[in-house]
């Protein structure tokens, strides 16, 4: 390239280069565009819908009201909310109880093994989520792997009622969100300075106490991050309860889905979505207020 050409090319970008603000805007504009068009706008639409009314044929009637939010306090829906919280809460707890020890074990292996072990953890998750959830149907149903095996061994005469229960949903959710708990915990434990653990043991703290007083408090941010990552999608889950929960087990996600797809009550579905979002946002803010920041 001759010098003249280079000079010409430079001059094209000159006006942008001279103003740092404009340069920043130019650089973030693709992602900004994406976020506005595909994230913020649909949210705004849903938010507006939540204050409107459903017409007799499922169309939107442009009439402002708060009725959709009021319906939310119907005992039927409150019950679904409570049950969803319970299932998501148990899922999070089980993920923690299984995931933290695994994360700890991986983080304390020799460095060259850690990445391999993390890869092994994630390989199953390269398969489609739906396919993996159907696999649980095959395992849990009355004629499934577990029941057939137990009956074949003569341990039970009737199939255990696994499929279609809250237990099945919890199993499915734990399986689905397990890596989301393990990875943040792993990151926190791997960062932990283990000379602090030695210091605790040197100062007369046995294994249990050095865990409670030093290891756990210092890795708590990872546990909380993992819990948020597991709790939120579990609370809004609909594929897992739909496939594994059977007809009786309904969670918030299923209500929202049915409002949009079968009842065709867009405004109520929108209001329900926003109520869920508000609760999660509130809970997250509460966490940052109460102690998240000091960690």
């Amino acid at each position: 390239m001759t010098q003249e050409k280079a000079a010409k090319k430079r001059s094209l970008l000159e006006p942008i280069r001279r103003r740092p603000g404009l340069q920043t805007l130019a650089l973030i504009s693709p992602s900004l565009f994406w976020l506005v068009v595909f994230f913020a706008m649909p949210l705004v639409i849903v938010f507006i819908y939540s204050f409107l009314k459903r017409g007799p044929y499922g169309q939107i009637v442009w009439e402002f009201n708060l009725g959709n939010y009021a319906r939310f306090f119907d005992p039927l829906y409150l019950k679904i909310f409570a049950r969803s919280f319970k299932i998501a809460g148990i899922t999070t707890l089980v993920c923690f109880l299984l995931g933290y020890p695994l994360a700890y074990w991986i983080a304390t292996r020799p460095p060259k093994w850690r990445n391999t072990l993390l890869l092994l953890l994630m390989i199953p998750f390269w398969t489609n989520f739906l396919v993996r959830t159907y696999a649980w149907v095959l395992i849990l149903r009355d004629t499934g792997l577990i029941n057939q095996a137990l009956m074949g061994l003569g341990l039970i005469s009737e199939p255990l009622p696994l499929f279609g229960t809250d237990l099945a949903i919890i199993i499915g959710l734990v399986y689905g969100w397990f890596p989301d708990m393990v990875l943040p915990c792993y990151a926190a434990i791997e960062r932990l300075d283990f000379s602090l653990v030695e210091a605790a043991q040197d100062l007369y703290a046995n294994e249990v106490r050095s865990f409670a007083r030093v290891i756990f408090p210092l890795t708590l941010p990872g546990v909380i991050a993992g819990s948020i990552l597991v709790f939120i999608p579990s609370l809004g889950a609909y594929v897992t309860p739909d496939l594994l929960g059977g007809a009786k087990s309904v969670m918030i996600g299923n209500v929202i889905q049915s409002q949009f797809l079968s009842v065709r009550d867009y405004p109520f579905g929108s209001a329900f979505s926003f109520a869920l979002m508000a609760i999660m946002l509130g809970a997250t803010l509460l966490y940052f207020r109460t102690g998240g920041r000091t960690l």
């Binding site: 000379s195 030695e198 210091a199 605790a200 040197d202 106490r209 210092l218």
Partner: protein, 374 residues
Amino acid sequence: MKDSIAVEIRAVSKRFPGLGGQPEHEVVAVDGVSLQILDGEFFSLLGPSGCGKTTTLRMIAGFELPSAGEIYIHGRRMGLTPPYQRNTNMVFQSYALFPHMTIARNVAFGLEMKKVPKDEVTRRVQEALAMVRLADYGPRKPNQLSGGQQQRVALARALVNRPEVLLLDEPLGALDLKLRKEMQLELKTLQREVGITFVYVTHDQEEALTMSDRIAVMHLGKVLQVGAPTEIYERPACRFVADFIGDTNFMAGVVEGQEGNQVTVRVDGRLSVVVDTEDEFSRGAEVTVAVRPEKIRLLLEPARQACNAMPCQVEQVVYVGTDTRFQVRLSDNVVLAVREQNLLTPEVLAAHHAGDDRQVYAVWACDSGRILLD
């Protein structure tokens, strides 16, 4: 309690499995070390990195268990006793202060674990912080303190428990030189005050000489010499110790003869030196003679009574304020470093400045040299 043994290490070895766990890749970090550390002593483990000094310290603390041998603390066999049941405390190289606790909570940790009553904990924590001159820092977090302050907190956190033995793993390594010199004296004073046995690991020979009552010099997992700083410096047991601690001139040679406690060693051609010794050497034995640079004087006249007075040429003169460093050639193969204090201007320095190229004599006493076998 004086002169009773605080820590006894009996024939302790530590082997670490090497890469892949194959026995041929095994690393011997500590190799048959035996030491007796006296009560109330400031004892240093000195050696280059990888010599096994830190591993030895960690075995006393209980973080590592010996592959062979036994460690006794005040006569009690440690065996498999975990660190939290040993009455030792450690000051870590990285300080290892708990970042999520205040300074006061850090210092209180050991006492709380030992279930000391609350008001006593508060009192002792305050005393310990006052001892390291950080009385007002209790409510702060470790990251609000400077490196030197954190180091003192680590010291208070260990000493507040009144351990039988305090273990220090290069605690001054991360500090800058000036602060390190201050802390060396402070640590030594503190140790005298509290009277607790200190086992101090360092690779800095000057630090070890400054602070220790006794030093064990380690190399490749073995203890080469144990002794007071003067003994280690003046009477090194082997070439490694002489070389590692301070500067030394080495002259390889052959024993010509021995008369009483004086050995004559031919170091190069017609050049012979005379050295005091307590040992017997046979004629023809190959030995190394070591002489410290500050033990040699440069004179313009050969001193008649001097044990060794060698004519030499001055090759280099470096003036460094407190002293002057010379490099002198005795023969084709023998070059010595000489250090003279600038108490008065050394006469050879004055002659050098005046452009006087007269014959110079390197002079040292018989007991200034030392014969080393390896």
